[in-house]
C-alpha cells in the first residue's frame, strides 16, 4: 500500500518537473529567437527614426522590469506576458539604436510575498519602470510598495479596480472589471443585439458581481431592458435550470454571462438541453471555453464575447504580432500575451511623447522617481493616446484606468471570428 502512495507522489513530482522543464525549454527557445528576429519588420506606424539628441529625441537605455508568475499554477499568464513583452522590446530596440530597453523579468509564482521580493530585486537591479504584476493579488501588494517608493507601474492584466484606486502612479492596460460591464451594455445597445436581456452572475465572486453592477446601471441608462437577473455561487455552480427557466419565461433574447468559462460551459449545455437558445454574450472570463478538454464546441456556436484582443483580427499589427509569437513560442498568443506586448509600447510612446514636447529626453541613469513623475504626467495627459493590438486610441484617466474600444468576437465553427 505504502508503495502505491509513494508511486502517486513520485508521479506527481515527475509531472511537476516535466512542467518546469517545459517552461525552461520555452525560455531557451525564446532567447534563440530573439537574436534572429531583430532587424525584421518594424511596427506599422514607425513615427521615429534616428534624430540628433536635444531635438525632441528619446535616447538612452531604459531598465524595464517585469513581474509575473513564470512558474506555478498561474504560469500560463506570466509567460504569455513575458513573451509578449519580449517581442515588443525587440521591435522597439530595432527602431532606433539610440534608445534601447533592457528587460529584467522576475518570477512571483502568483504569490504576494514573493512578488514583493521580486519587486525589491528589480529595485536592486536599478530597474526604472515596472510592467506588472500580471495577477491581481500580488499586484495589490506590489502596487502599495511602488506607490510609496514612487516607481511607475503599468499592469498588463491585473484588472481589479483596487489595483489602481488611490495610487496615482499605478496604471492598467487591461480593462478594469467594472469597465467591462458598461462596455458590454454599450456594445449590446450600439449593435442592437437584443431588446430583452437576462443576466446570470456569480454573487459570490467580486469579478462577476462588479461587472454585473456596472452592466446593470449602464443598461438602464441606455434603455436596455434587463428582464431577469439570477445568481449562483461557487457551491451551487452545477444546476442552472432554474436560472435558465427564469430567463426563458421572461422572454429574454440575449443572455449576458459575466462569469468564468467553467460554469458558462454548463449553462450552455443546460440551455441547449432545454431548447433555450438566446444570444449568449460573455466577457473576458469566457475566454478559454474552447480549450476545455472534452468540451463540445458546437454548444458555444454563436457565443459573443467581449475581449480586448482576438488573434485572428486582420489588421497588420495583430497579424505581425501573432506571427512573431507563433515563431517564438509555437502557439497562438492569448489576451495576456497581447497585453504584455502593448505595455512596453505604451511606456515607449509615453517617453517619446514627453521627449518631443520637452526637447529630448535621455533616460540613462534617470532615477525611477523622476521617470515616475514624467510618466504620470504623460499618461494623464488627455492628448496622449496609444494604438495597441488590444485597442485603438487607448487613453488613461487620473485613476489609472484605461479607456479603449472593446473588440467583440463571435464563436463560429469552434474559432473566434472578429465582429
Amino acid at each position: 500500500m505504502r508503495k502505491k502512495m509513494l508511486g502517486m507522489f513520485l508521479a506527481g513530482v515527475l509531472a511537476m518537473t516535466a512542467l518546469t522543464a517545459c517552461g525552461e525549454t520555452a525560455n531557451g527557445n525564446n532567447g534563440a529567437a530573439t537574436t534572429g528576429d531583430q532587424n525584421q519588420d518594424q511596427p506599422a506606424d514607425g513615427q521615429t527614426s534616428a534624430e540628433p539628441a536635444g531635438d525632441g529625441a528619446l535616447t538612452g537605455t531604459l531598465n524595464l522590469g517585469v513581474i509575473g508568475p513564470m512558474t506555478g499554477a498561474a504560469a500560463l499568464y506570466g509567460n504569455a506576458v513575458k513573451n509578449g513583452a519580449e517581442i515588443a522590446v525587440e521591435e522597439i530596440n530595432a527602431i532606433d539604436p539610440a534608445f534601447q530597453i533592457s528587460l529584467d523579468v522576475q518570477d512571483d509564482v502568483h504569490d504576494p510575498e514573493i512578488s514583493v521580493n521580486a519587486y525589491q530585486t528589480l529595485k536592486d537591479n536599478k530597474v526604472q519602470v515596472i510592467v506588472g504584476t500580471v495577477t491581481t493579488s500580488p499586484c495589490l501588494a506590489v502596487s502599495a510598495e511602488a506607490n510609496s517608493d514612487r516607481v511607475f507601474m503599468l499592469t498588463p492584466s491585473a484588472s481589479s479596480p483596487s489595483v489602481t484606486e488611490g495610487k496615482d502612479n499605478i496604471f492598467q492596460l487591461c480593462f478594469s472589471d467594472p469597465n467591462q460591464g458598461s462596455a458590454s451594455a454599450q456594445y449590446i445597445s450600439d449593435n442592437k443585439l437584443a431588446t430583452k436581456v437576462a443576466v446570470i452572475y456569480n454573487n459570490g465572486d467580486a469579478y462577476s458581481t462588479g461587472i454585473y453592477q456596472t452592466f446593470k446601471s449602464k443598461a438602464s441608462e441606455l434603455g436596455l431592458e434587463v428582464v431577469s437577473e439570477t445568481t449562483f455561487t461557487d457551491d451551487t455552480a452545477t444546476d442552472f435550470t432554474v436560472q435558465l427557466k427564469a430567463a426563458q419565461d421572461a422572454g429574454a433574447d440575449l443572455l449576458f454571462l459575466p462569469i468564468y468559462y467553467q460554469p458558462a460551459s454548463l449553462i450552455l449545455k443546460q440551455a441547449s438541453d432545454m431548447g433555450f437558445s438566446p444570444k449568449m454574450f460573455g466577457v473576458d472570463g469566457m475566454d478559454g471555453i474552447l480549450t476545455m478538454e472534452g468540451f463540445d464546441t458546437k454548444l458555444a456556436e454563436g457565443v459573443i464575447l467581449l475581449t480586448p484582443f482576438s488573434a485572428d483580427a486582420e489588421d497588420e499589427a495583430t497579424a505581425n504580432f501573432v506571427k512573431k509569437f507563433n515563431d517564438k513560442v509555437g502557439e497562438t498568443p492569448s489576451q495576456f500575451a497581447a497585453d504584455g506586448y502593448d505595455c512596453p509600447y505604451a511606456i515607449y510612446r509615453a517617453l517619446e511623447f514627453y521627449a518631443a514636447k520637452n526637447g529630448g529626453l535621455d533616460v540613462t541613469d534617470m532615477s525611477y522617481a523622476d521617470l515616475c513623475e514624467i510618466l504620470i504626467s504623460v499618461f494623464t495627459d488627455p492628448s496622449f493616446s496609444v494604438d495597441g493590438i488590444t485597442g485603438q486610441g487607448m487613453v488613461w484617466d487620473a485613476n489609472g484606468e484605461v479607456n479603449k474600444a472593446p473588440k467583440a468576437v463571435v464563436i463560429e465553427n469552434g474559432v473566434y471570428v472578429g465582429m
Binding site: 500500500m1 505504502r2 502505491k4 502512495m5 502517486m8 508521479a11 506527481g12 509531472a15 511537476m16 499554477a73 454573487n203 459570490g204 437577473e229 439570477t230 445568481t231 455561487t233 457551491d235 451551487t236 452545477t238 444546476d239 435550470t241 432554474v242 436560472q243 427557466k245 427564469a246 467553467q262 460554469p263 460551459s265 454548463l266 449545455k269 438541453d273 432545454m274 476545455m292 478538454e293 472534452g294 468540451f295 463540445d296
Partner: protein
C-alpha cells in the same frame, strides 16, 4: 412548477445516490467518511480517463472506475482509518477530513485544475416529455440506479452472511468478535462496497453536470451528507428519500427566492431536522445505554 419539481428530482436523485454510500458506511462502521465525495471525484476522473484517453466504451469505463474506487476505498480504510479503530470518533472524523483534502490535492497535482468536460454517456436514451418539462436520460438512469442499489443493499444486508456480519458489527463490535466475525474484514468490505457505489455516483454526477475538477465531489458530498441525515443516517431508504427531497427543496427555493443563495435553505433544513427529529425522517431512535 412541474419543471422545477422535475429538475429538483434530477438533482435530488444525484444526491440520493451519493447519500446511499454515506449512509451505508455510517450504518455499519459508525463513522462519517467525509472523503466519500472525493472518492466520487476520483471515480469521475477514472472513468473520464478510461473513455477519453484509452478510448474504452462507457460500460467498461464504469466497471474500471468501480474497480479503481473499490481498491482506493480499501487502501484508505487500511492506511487512514484502521489504525484509529480504537481511537475516539472525533479523531476518525478529522482523519476523514484530512483524507478528503489529500485526495483533492493529489487530483490537483495529477489532473490539474483545468476543468474537463465529461461526455454524455446516456445520449442514446431519449428524454421523456411531461407537460412542458423534460426528464433527461441521465435522470431516469440515476433514479433507476437508486432503486436498484437500494433494493440490492437491503437484500444484501438482510439476507447474505456478509450482510448479517455487517449488521452484527454495527450493533456491537465486541460481541461480533466473540461470535467469530472478522470485524476488520467486515469493515473493509463495507468501505469497498461504499466506494464502489461512489464510483457509480461519480459517473452519474459527472454525466448530469459534466464539469470535472478536483473539487467536483466536495459540495455534492456535503449536500448528500445532509440528505443522509435528513432521511435518517444509517437508513437505506431514508437516504434516497432524503436526497430527492433535498434536491427538490434546493431547486424550488432557488425558483421562489432567487436572490437568496439556495444553500441557506439546504442547511437550514439540516438544522431544523436535527432540532425536531434528531434521528431523521426514517431513522431509528436508539437509546444510549448508560
Amino acid at each position: 412548477m412541474l419543471t422545477y419539481l422535475i429538475n429538483g428530482i434530477s438533482l435530488g436523485s444525484v444526491y440520493a445516490i451519493i447519500a446511499l454510500g454515506y449512509t451505508m458506511v455510517y450504518g455499519i462502521a459508525k463513522m462519517l467518511n467525509f472523503a466519500h465525495g472525493d472518492i466520487i471525484m476520483v471515480g469521475g476522473y477514472a472513468s473520464f480517463c478510461a473513455m477519453s484517453y484509452l478510448g474504452w466504451p462507457p460500460a467498461v469505463a464504469v466497471l474500471f472506475s468501480i474497480g479503481v474506487c473499490t481498491v482506493l476505498g480499501i487502501v484508505i480504510e487500511r492506511l487512514a482509518y484502521k489504525p484509529l479503530r480504537s481511537a475516539t470518533s472525533l479523531a476518525v472524523l478529522i482523519t476523514a477530513i484530512g483524507v478528503s483534502y489529500f485526495l483533492q490535492n493529489v487530483a490537483l497535482l495529477v489532473w490539474t485544475s483545468n476543468p474537463k468536460v465529461y461526455p454524455n454517456i446516456f445520449e442514446k436514451i431519449p428524454p421523456i416529455t411531461v407537460g412542458e418539462a423534460q426528464i433527461s436520460g441521465v435522470t431516469m438512469v440515476t433514479i433507476l440506479a437508486n432503486i436498484v442499489i437500494m433494493i440490492a443493499l437491503t437484500l444484501f444486508t438482510g439476507k447474505t452472511r456478509m450482510g448479517k456480519a455487517m449488521r452484527a458489527v454495527s450493533e456491537d463490535k465486541g460481541a461480533a468478535t466473540l461470535m467469530g466475525i472478522n470485524v476488520n474484514f467486515t469493515i473493509s468490505m463495507t468501505f469497498a462496497i461504499g466506494s464502489g457505489l461512489a464510483a457509480i455516483a461519480g459517473v452519474l454526477l459527472c454525466t448530469a453536470y459534466p464539469n470535472l475538477v478536483p473539487t467536483t465531489g466536495a459540495m455534492p458530498g456535503i449536500k448528500a451528507f445532509v440528505a443522509a441525515v435528513f432521511g435518517g443516517i444509517g437508513s437505506i431508504p431514508g437516504a434516497m428519500i432524503g436526497g430527492i427531497l433535498l434536491g427538490v427543496i434546493e431547486i424550488v427555493a432557488r425558483a421562489l427566492v432567487p436572490d437568496v443563495p439556495s444553500d441557506i435553505f439546504v442547511f437550514a433544513v439540516l438544522i431544523i431536522v436535527l432540532l425536531v427529529k434528531p434521528s431523521g425522517l426514517l431513522g431509528k431512535t436508539v437509546r444510549e445505554k448508560v
